[in-house]
């Protein structure tokens, strides 16, 4: 390393050699130890500016900010919610509920904003009194019948079972993806 290159890097990177290009640090140390005394004087001068720069400290994040940012991350849908085939196939209402909760966890600030701006958050349509449960009962009965029928067919046809299960898993994964975008491996 030439003294000129040493001065150029000193002017650009300061006196701390850890901020210098890695490939040039050893040569700089060698020159500093055995080169002209003027280099050490220049280093001392550069150190003063480094210390001024170091005086400008940024405060650490407070706990509320950390909590707020971490809390805004989408939550993971529990694996059990899409592993059990009958539960997932039969409970459209339950999955609607899970979607609502996931959406709230993805954008808590948006939920809070809508809450503060428009009063109480709008209730889902299916939570209307006397509307949801009778229809859900009929739906569950119908779906349970369909599942039982599919089971009979799969037993009769032998190898149709695994294919049906695989197909369901694909559908379930796609559904979860659409809601949260967090289930991909």
């Amino acid at each position: 390393m030439t003294p000129e290159r040493f001065h150029a890097l000193l002017d650009a990177c300061g006196a701390d050699l850890r901020r210098w290009p890695e490939a040039e640090r050893d040569a700089a140390r060698e020159l500093l130890a055995n080169g002209p005394p003027a280099l050490r004087a220049a280093c001392a001068e550069a150190t003063l500016l480094d210390r001024d720069l170091d005086a400008y400290q940024v405060a650490a994040a407070d706990a509320a900010l950390i909590e707020g940012i971490a809390g805004a991350a989408p939550s993971v849908v529990p694996e059990a919610a899409y592993i059990a085939p009958i539960a997932a196939a039969a409970s459209a209402a339950a999955s609607d509920s899970a979607r609502v909760e996931t959406t709230a966890s993805v954008a808590p600030s948006a939920a809070a904003a809508s809450s503060s701006a428009g009063g109480p958050r709008a209730r889902p349509w299916w939570r209307g009194a006397g509307f949801f449960w009778p229809r859900a009962g009929w739906a569950l009965t119908g779906v349970a019948g369909a599942v039982a029928g599919a089971l009979v067919v799969s037993v009769v046809l032998g190898d149709a079972g695994p294919a049906a299960a695989t197909d369901w898993q694909k559908r379930a994964t796609a559904f979860i993806d659409r809601g949260t975008d967090w289930s991909e491996e």
């Binding site: 150029a8 890097l9 002017d11 650009a12 990177c13 300061g14 901020r19 290009p21 890695e22 150190t47 003063l48 500016l49 210390r51 001024d52 720069l53 005086a55 400008y56 400290q57 940024v58 405060a59 650490a60 994040a61 900010l65 950390i66 707020g68 940012i69 971490a70 805004a72 991350a73 989408p74 939550s75 993971v76 949260t180 975008d181 967090w182 289930s183 991909e184 491996e185």
Partner: protein, 188 residues
Amino acid sequence: MNDDDPDAELLARVGRGEPRAVREMVERKLGRLLSLAERMLGRRVEAEEVAQEVFVRVWKQAPHWQPGRARFDTWLHRVALNLCYDRLRRRREEAPDDDADDPAADLAEAPDALLEAKQRDRRVARALAELPQRQREALVLQYYQELSNGEAAELMGIGIEALESLLVRARRSLRARLAGEPRRNDDA
């Protein structure tokens, strides 16, 4: 290509939605983001907003991250810088004569014991805020964020020689701006 990205494993866990990984990522990167944004913008509140916006993008991108294409920390800095640029541009458009905040404005509220330290802090903050934007960016990335010259140059879309030139001008300018102000003698 970069196969030794120190954040890759954690990012993959974030992508799988592990709550513990999410918190670990915030604790690992939030300080660096605040450090970058506050020194670029000169305003704490805006720096915190930028940090939050960056993390929203992290949460969205984590499941789709492809290791080896770029270092995550470099990408993080790129996103944060773009958000800072947006705010600085908006600031210029909205109040062209009010670009430079006075970072010493809150000193009156500081307790006496902290006053001297805050004064040193603020005079450097003010001098940094008065630098041309590209010089400030070069110095913040290379000095405060401790990126290598190559990483800083890549982030800024310039060559290493151009980066070194910006750094030289930034440091000279800072030295001149700070020269007229009282300096501590305890390290002489």
